[in-house]
């Protein structure tokens, strides 16, 4: 018999999440995001976090160029129960393409994490992998490295949840190339605060 020491939390749908916002339970500025049905409290925005977000956004704008845009801490839709707000993501097209609906398939998602490292590697990686986000990076402020998560993999004998089969850790002196911008090279040092 399995026994959950933690309670089973009620999961919210995106529609319910929007009703919570409409009825004033949540504010647009609340540090909350819907991930896999849970209303997660986001990592507090300390200055190093904010600096990293700005550095990543700037580097990705340069690397991707025309035909893409970079959004920071804005919602994307990953299914019925997930509407996260990744620190940075790269989306095809221009902002006007998403007047009526949030982007659903970013080419690259980046989270900056210090206290939220476990969340970024665990629950968030699972949600992004399940949504088949091909390229997911974690700017790890604890160890000052970049973790590139690739090859979304379904649960199986090797893993209990969705996750990434290929995870590469890159130090400050390394260079990384986004999967969707194969001719670009970004120095990891340029992403770290």
């Amino acid at each position: 018999m399995t026994q959950a020491a933690r309670p089973v939390l009620r999961r919210w749908t995106r529609h319910e999440y929007e009703r919570l916002i409409d009825h004033g339970f949540l504010d647009e500025d609340d540090p909350i995001e819907l991930l896999d049905g849970l209303l997660l409290v986001k990592e507090p925005q300390h200055s190093a976090h904010r600096t990293a977000v700005l550095l990543v956004a700037k580097a990705l704008e340069r690397a991707f160029g025309e035909g893409w845009f970079v959004q920071t801490q804005s919602p994307i839709v990953l299914g019925d129960r997930s509407e996260p707000e990744p620190d940075v993501c790269v989306v095809r097209g221009s902002p006007r393409d998403y007047v009526d609906a949030h982007p659903t398939r970013p080419a690259l998602v980046v989270e900056v994490a210090r206290s939220g490292l476990r969340l970024a590697r665990g629950r968030k990686a699972a949600a992004y992998a399940r949504a088949r986000i091909a390229d997911y990076w974690i700017v790890n402020l604890v160890d000052r490295v970049l973790e590139a998560h690739r090859e979304p993999a379904r649960p199986g004998p090797a893993r209990r949840h969705w996750g990434y089969a290929a995870i590469e850790t890159l130090g400050a002196d390394a260079t990384i190339t986004p999967l969707s911008a194969p001719s670009a090279g970004i120095r990891v040092a340029d992403l770290l605060p």
């Binding site: 020491a5 009620r10 609340d30």
Partner: protein, 195 residues
């Protein structure tokens, strides 16, 4: 400086006032079994035949033991504290149903949870929550081992999920008899509670 990455996943907490407003607004699905426990919305254990039978048997046995002047509620909300509105399987409160037409009762004299897959949660998390609220008599009807666990004497305990626990725990098997704290003259056979 190296910082430990010890961040636990935290979810948005709701107050009891917010929870009751969500219910009034019809945000939840009809018939959804949820409880507000320390600000978290918990999904209740799905009820099998044994679970439901245990609830009905316990309610009948407690009605007989307590007699007039007491109200035995099954799966009814308890306005426990600012951020908790649990729905214990059985709760005994003073008075009659109309006494609670404007507000849920907040201090049952006896609270019973029937546990199968929720055993760990009922013992630790709910035990700590009920102890914090000062509920004097908390019973876990353990269907896995077919015993009744009786928890009494709430005491502060920083290690508890809600900072409290019960100092006294007694376990009764099907052949034993148990007496609720609030009705010292009554005696109930544990076999009358078990499915």
């Amino acid at each position: 400086m190296r910082v430990m990455a010890s961040y636990e996943t935290r979810t948005r907490r709701f107050s009891r006032a917010e929870y009751e407003r969500l219910i009034d607004l019809g945000v939840f699905q009809p018939g959804e079994a949820i409880e507000l426990i320390g600000g978290e919305l918990m999904v209740a254990e799905p009820q099998g035949a044994a679970h439901y039978t245990a609830i009905r048997k316990s309610a009948k046995a407690l009605e007989a033991a307590f007699g007039p002047g007491w109200e035995v509620r099954t799966e009814g909300p308890i306005g426990l504290d600012e951020d908790s509105e649990p729905e214990p399987d059985v709760a005994v409160v003073p008075g009659s149903p109309e006494d609670y037409s404007r507000a849920h009762p907040s201090r049952p004299v006896l609270t019973v949870e029937v546990s199968e897959s929720s055993l760990a949660v009922d013992r630790q998390r709910k035990g700590s929550l009920y102890a914090r609220a000062g509920l004097a008599d908390y019973w876990v009807l353990n269907l896995v081992d077919r015993v009744l666990e009786v928890y009494r004497e709430p005491v502060p305990d920083p290690a508890g999920p809600f900072g409290w626990r019960y100092a006294s725990r007694e376990v009764f098997d099907a052949s034993a008899w148990v007496t609720p704290l609030a009705v010292p003259a009554a005696s109930i056979a544990v076999s009358r509670l078990l499915p």
